[in-house]
């Protein structure tokens, strides 16, 4: 079995024998087993995390479906989308007209804040063509309703410039924060648009009005 001193003693040598490093130990089967178990646990964890969309599900918005004319209750406001309109020319009510080779879609929205004043800042159109059309302030597509005081309805018209093929089956999504909709209520409004709407609006050059936001209901045409 093991001998404490394995250095041969036959050779005369004045230098002391090189001491065996006491710390060097071969990994035992137990250590190797433990390492393998840790690696296996990591591998299983990776498989679990990637096989199931846990992150996406945890962070997903709470989509609240609605249709045109039907109020949708969100955590922060009650929202109602009016009848959409479209044309190749937009009248932003500031003395100018904006033309497009696609279609200008406008959707009047009524916002009633709950709990405290709210300024809705997120809007996007999920086109029927599978693309997402971002509606942001500062671009041609625009939604800036301002702050709604609780109990005092706020009226604003959203406008978005899209190709005609995006219109049939398009859904409008409205939320609170422009940059972050994770774990937050988001209205998902089916605009009920058809191919006939898209064809008619793509051939129409009668300006469609998108007036300024207001606390008074817009005048009915």
């Amino acid at each position: 079995m093991s001998t404490p001193d394995a250095t041969p003693a036959a050779t005369p040598d004045t230098t002391p024998p090189v001491p065996v490093a006491p710390r060097v130990r071969r990994p035992t089967a137990q250590t190797l087993g433990a390492g393998a178990a840790v690696l296996a646990a990591l591998a299983v964890g990776h498989v679990v995390v990637t096989a199931f969309p846990v992150d996406e599900r945890v962070q997903a918005s709470f989509l609240r479906p609605a249709v045109v004319g039907e109020p949708v209750e969100l955590r922060y406001a009650r929202l109602t989308a009016g009848e959409p309109a479209g044309s190749t020319v937009l009248d932003p009510d500031d003395g100018s007209l904006l033309a497009t080779p696609g279609v200008w879609l406008t959707v009047p929205l009524t916002i009633e804040a709950t709990g405290q004043p709210r300024a809705l800042g997120f809007a996007e159109l999920l086109g029927g063509d599978g693309r997402t059309y971002v509606v942001f302030t500062g671009g041609r597509s625009w939604f800036l309703p301002g702050t709604a005081q609780p109990g005092i309805a706020r009226y604003a018209t959203l406008r978005v410039e899209v190709p005609p093929e995006a219109l049939p089956g398009a859904h409008l999504r409205i939320g609170l924060e422009q940059k972050d909709q994770r774990r937050e209520d988001v209205a998902d409004i089916d605009l009920g648009l058809t191919q006939a709407d898209a064809d008619a609006w793509a051939a129409d050059d009668t300006p469609v009005l998108a007036g300024p936001q207001s606390d008074e209901p817009p005048e009915q045409p």
Binding site: S2, P22, G115, Q116, Q149, P150, G151, E216
Partner: protein, 219 residues
């Protein structure tokens, strides 16, 4: 046969107590590490949740005066002290509307009369005022709304707002050397638009969330 060069080791521990003794420091460190991990993972709770709403009320003491002492972020990496006394003199329907204000249908305007006291060198420009009903719904003062332009600083005298937060290199260029000093005590009367039928239960005033002054309205 090869000779083994390892030191003879004592027999492998067989009692369960030995494992606990061998790992005692790791076991002591484990709860500490868990606590640290929770704290590190929760660092955003403060900025993304706690500081995003009114959560720490300062109520009025004797004489209906509330004293707020808070350090608020100054926007340039530092903090500023807010040391102020606030008293609610009354909440009533506004008999005179701010210039050009047009009330939407189904709303009314209420005037909030406040008296404040503070040292003239305390920065108090960035304040918000709101009224609340019994259910806690908050109706905020809006400086630019319903056609009117009220003061953007509802808690300080418009003609003598006192010092501003630090402006960095622009400090000298933008500071008005002839500005009037703010008096030690002053009154303001911001007008808040609320829906008809809302009964005002209290008035809240804040400089930076989550702390706020809570003043109950007389019934």
């Amino acid at each position: 046969m090869s000779t083994q060069t390892v030191d003879p080791t004592p027999a492998a521990p067989t009692t369960s107590g030995t494992w606990w003794r061998r790992n005692r420091w790791a076991l002591v460190a484990l709860p500490v590490a868990l606590a640290l991990a929770l704290v590190a993972a929760g660092d955003r709770v403060r900025t993304l949740w706690w500081e995003q709403d009114l959560r720490q009320p300062v109520t009025a003491g004797e004489g209906g005066t509330a004293e707020l002492h808070q350090r608020v972020y100054d926007g340039s990496g530092g903090t500023l002290p807010v040391d102020v006394q606030v008293r609610l003199d009354g909440v009533a329907d506004a008999t005179v509307l701010p210039e050009d204000m047009e009330l939407p249908t189904g709303t009314r305007a209420v005037r909030v009369d406040l008296t404040l006291s503070a040292d003239p060198d305390v920065v108090l420009t960035g304040c918000s005022v709101a009224v609340r009903d019994a259910s806690g719904t908050r109706y905020e003062y809006v400086a630019s709304g319903w056609g009117a332009l009220q003061s953007p600083m509802p808690c300080v005298p418009e003609d003598a707002p006192g010092p501003w937060p630090p402006l960095g290199d622009l400090e000298d260029a933008l500071t008005d050397p002839d500005a009037l000093p703010r008096p030690a005590t002053w009154s303001v009367s911001p007008v808040v638009v609320v829906p008809d039928g809302v009964e005002i239960a209290d008035v809240v005033v804040w400089w930076q969330k989550p702390r706020y002054v809570l003043l109950e309205a007389a019934r």
